[in-house]
Symmetry: C2
Subunit: 410 residues, 2 copies
């Protein structure tokens, strides 16, 4: 059933509508806000005055105007507040600090010592964050909160990681409570793909896009869907599992129980396995010597670099992977009809252009609605720090994105 | 950017929230409405009083209540208004009349005479609708409007069919203007899959489901997505094209330019072609004699009936089709994480149980989130008149479904 709405909710919603209009712009006048939002000049004037008094918005000189007096330009005050982002990746922990506009001020990466328990790792991440904030001379009262990107699936109501695939030690870790306890700020958690997508929406390619799909290429392959400016989560909060779309019915078995899932065919470990099996039978390759000496030296990064240098074996494997990703992007286009697909995550550096090219060609030539519009593809502008920056954006997004659902929640 | 909201919009929205709560129930008290919607008793009392005065809602006796006086039960007044639904299928035109609750009062089907121009067909449908209304003694002022389900894609702003695949004569037909002109009531149009899904939401399995996917098996295969109680249409209004998900990468070429689309593998004409090619090489089958005498007598319906009777050839083809549909349902579950998949459309009679069984098993065993929840599958309860009833529901839905988007449209 539906829920009703009332006046205080409308007020909060409109404040966030104004804030969002300012945040999405590179400087905007009150008149322009009115034009974009449909709110009256008087409503906007009252809201903006309060936001300036609170130090969240600032006036930054005047803009030329078509006839009449110049208009005052409004921007988010970068120093109005700060957020910390933490990404718990399987192989390292990244911590970033961003200002109110989502701009990165500092970052740190810690390789994960084998055998370290999740709680010790969480304590360490909290220490690192504290150190960064001290160096930046940011006082506690200016910290809006901490966002954490964790391996999914996550139980939001309990602030807990449930049972991440192949990471047994993280099963049922109450990460929200532990991180809050060690760091002393409010903590917002989400899975890594959603966090990266929210980062993209806040300060990347999604900035001007209310509806886009995000394909997250990490250790595994995940996804997120932005619809009407918010993450679409689905009935069990598991929407956007693009990694488990079957792209090769008779392909490699996947841990999920199926065969030929995108993740089983295209994850870093699948790529490594495929290249190793080619090298094992003696195919000519720049990587052949290294493989002879020490197979483990031919890792995902080495393969991606070799593909970028046109090595035959690496190139062929990466192109096949790109083709599978393209098939998946076409399915996304046919099902969701989004305007944009963003590909991101740590593990696409060096091969991003190859992926973009194949996906772009597929989106231009294969979706049913290609005559109505061509779905764009972009590589995340935050490929390296995507999930950590996204985690910080969780805090900004939670605080300042207008959500029609808030109008009607009981 | 976002749009603001204001008080009159909130009022309309809340009226529709109350109406919807009443419509979705089989009788509901004011207290229960308050519990479900979060609106205050006073707001509900004012809204309900007005709806009763307008004749839209009626009090229908009292319900037992846990301690305290019995509560008055509220229902939609079926006779408050009527809607006409028209479905322009490639081979026939169906017309239905429904009451305010979506219940069918009368129906009519006209085979389409070969060579009849779209305008003549539209004029004929208008005549049929007028005749049904006269027989039912429904006065014009009680008719809320006419809904038309048309082959997509549709340009809503122009009320026009754009370029339906394989139906050249319907290209750029201004169906909304023509039907309004001939029938003399307001006309709402949508594509057949969306119309059928709205019908399902209004009075079928979708009645208690805010998020579901609808797989429409007509002459072609289409789809529709209900999210947060409304059709999700996508950036170019082409979301839910499940028929063009590739289920067999090396499969039959599809008119859309790809190979192995669900539609190319599973449409009625694909099924007929497949069975004919098996019969042509002399496979043992209940259909062999008929095929020898006149291949065209072995049509889609005949094949479905034979499959239901366990004929080897028909059964095998239908089971392969069911497997492809199941693969597609698993993709839908992984991407959209809906709670329910409904399969509907005219062309599934006789094989619906086989489809349901395969899809149900796949949804139980294959989506990544199957441990979090099992996606249900249902066969549309309006298999035969789905799109026509859905078309009528377009009118009811457009008039009475609360839409948070209405709160914020400029």
């Amino acid at each position: 059933m539906f829920s009703g709405t009332n006046l205080p909710r409308v007020g909060t919603y409109n404040v966030n509508v104004v804030l969002n209009a300012i945040q999405a712009s590179q400087g905007i006048s009150r008149v322009e806000i009115a034009k974009h939002t449909g709110l009256t000049a008087q409503t906007i004037s009252v809201i903006v005055r309060r936001l300036i008094e609170q130090g969240i918005v600032q006036e930054v000189g005047s803009m030329p105007s078509a006839g009449g007096k110049p208009r005052t330009s409004l921007r988010i005050n970068p120093a109005a507040g700060y957020a910390v982002g933490v990404h718990f990746d399987p192989i390292e922990v990244s911590v970033v600090v961003v200002d109110m506009t989502g701009r990165e001020l500092a970052e740190s990466h810690q390789a994960i010592a084998p055998g370290l328990a999740p709680e010790a790792l969480i304590a360490e991440a909290a220490d690192v964050a504290r150190t960064l904030l001290t160096k930046l001379e940011i006082p506690d009262e200016r910290v809006l909160g901490v966002g954490a990107a964790c391996p999914g699936p996550i139980d939001q109501s309990q602030g807990m990681i449930i049972s991440p695939p192949r990471r047994d030690r993280w099963t049922e870790v109450p990460i929200k409570r532990l991180l809050t306890q060690y760091i002393g700020f409010d903590v917002t958690i989400d899975n890594d793909a959603n966090a990266a997508a929210i980062g993209e929406r806040w300060s990347g390619h999604g900035r001007n896009s209310s509806d886009f799909a995000f394909l997250y290429m990490g250790t595994g392959i995940g996804g997120a869907i932005f619809l009407s400016n918010h993450i679409y989560r689905g009935a069990s909060l598991n929407a956007g599992e693009f990694g488990h779309i079957v792209v090769e019915p008779s392909g490699t078995p996947c841990y999920c129980g199926n065969r030929g899932c995108l993740e089983a065919m295209c994850s870093p470990s699948a790529i490594v396995k495929e290249v190793h099996s080619e090298l094992a039978v003696g195919r000519a390759s720049l990587l052949a010597d290294a493989y002879q000496k020490d197979p483990s030296s031919v890792d995902h990064k080495t393969i991606c670099l070799a593909a970028a240098e046109n090595d035959d074996v690496a190139r062929r494997v990466i192109e096949r992977v790109a083709e599978y990703i393209a098939n998946c992007a076409v399915i996304i286009a046919n099902v969701l009809d989004v305007e944009l697909v963003v590909i991101g995550g740590k593990r696409i550096t060096h091969v991003a252009d190859m992926y973009r090219e194949k996906v772009s060609e597929a989106l231009r030539t294969r979706p049913l609605a290609r005559k109505a519009h061509i779905v764009r593809v972009e590589i995340s502008s935050m490929a390296n720090e995507g999930a950590a920056l996204g985690a910080a954006s969780l805090v900004l997004h939670a605080n300042y994105a207008p959500n029609t659902a808030d109008l009607v929640s009981v």
